[in-house]
Symmetry: C2
């Protein structure tokens, strides 16, 4: 069992029902070859991804801007509940090593996946240290970005 | 299974064999009423402790200086392998929420406990972001402090 506390003043939530099965959503989130197809909202892309799917394991992506600039990001996986919950954080690197977040504020992502009819109730929460980090993340376009990425994930899932 | 990578240039390790059973060492590390009896090297003391023993749970202590000044510290539990491994970090607070470490550098503590004859092989590792944090922690007296605390833990374990 895992303890979560979300706080609307500090956290950002994207919650939607999508018409693909939970197993496929889980597969898209945990398979590097699939992550690169949906993780970055177009016209950005994901040029590489590495996932060591266990607590303490690496969650690594490289996002590429339309101009070709690359932005690597290293995180640490915290929770793997097969088919239902994936948690990772940018406050730690692989092996739970503390790290300074490249983008100025660390956050923890909690991705929850639950059956909803034939589809999936999808809840992605970004947990921040304080309200200023939440605002920074919101201003960077969290809702639009994670929403567009989810649309792309659904397209990938339907292609499987 | 959990992934660890330790690096002698970034990490500090205290490794010793002690003559109390692993179950007692585990109990001393995970029971707030026992933590307050050994966690702070004398003449410091631990005035309170709260532990929610699950990933994402709180690891909270308040240390008190000989002059009576109190130093609260909040951390997040990452791994609980009953009787053998406890991992927590000051880079996150309860619920995996990123936090700024009060003492200037975050670290992750990995406490490993294994049978060694009738006693326990005890390995405590402090994992840092960089060599400067390692040095800061070393200069604060990591080895002496964690060593003295372990002596106190052994005394508590023998009293149980």
């Amino acid at each position: 069992m895992t303890a979560y506390t979300t706080n609307p003043e500090l956290d950002l939530v994207l919650e939607r029902t999508v018409d693909v099965a939970p197993e496929l959503v889980w597969k898209c989130w945990t398979t590097p070859e699939l992550i690169v197809r949906w993780f970055a909202p177009k016209p950005w892309s994901t040029s590489s991804c590495e996932i060591d799917l266990q607590p303490g394991g690496r969650f690594h992506t490289v996002m590429r801007s339309p101009e070709g600039e690359e932005f690597p990001s290293d995180g640490c996986i915290l929770v793997v509940e097969e088919g239902s919950t994936l948690v990772f954080t940018s406050a730690l690197g692989p092996g739970f090593r503390p790290q300074v977040a490249e983008d100025g504020f660390p956050f923890t992502a909690v991705v929850r996946i639950a059956p909803d009819g034939a589809g999936t109730r999808y809840t992605a929460t970004a947990i921040h240290a304080d309200a200023s980090a939440r605002k920074q993340h919101e201003d960077m376009g969290f809702t639009e970005g994670w929403g567009a990425a989810l649309d792309q994930l659904v397209d990938v899932a339907k292609s499987l």
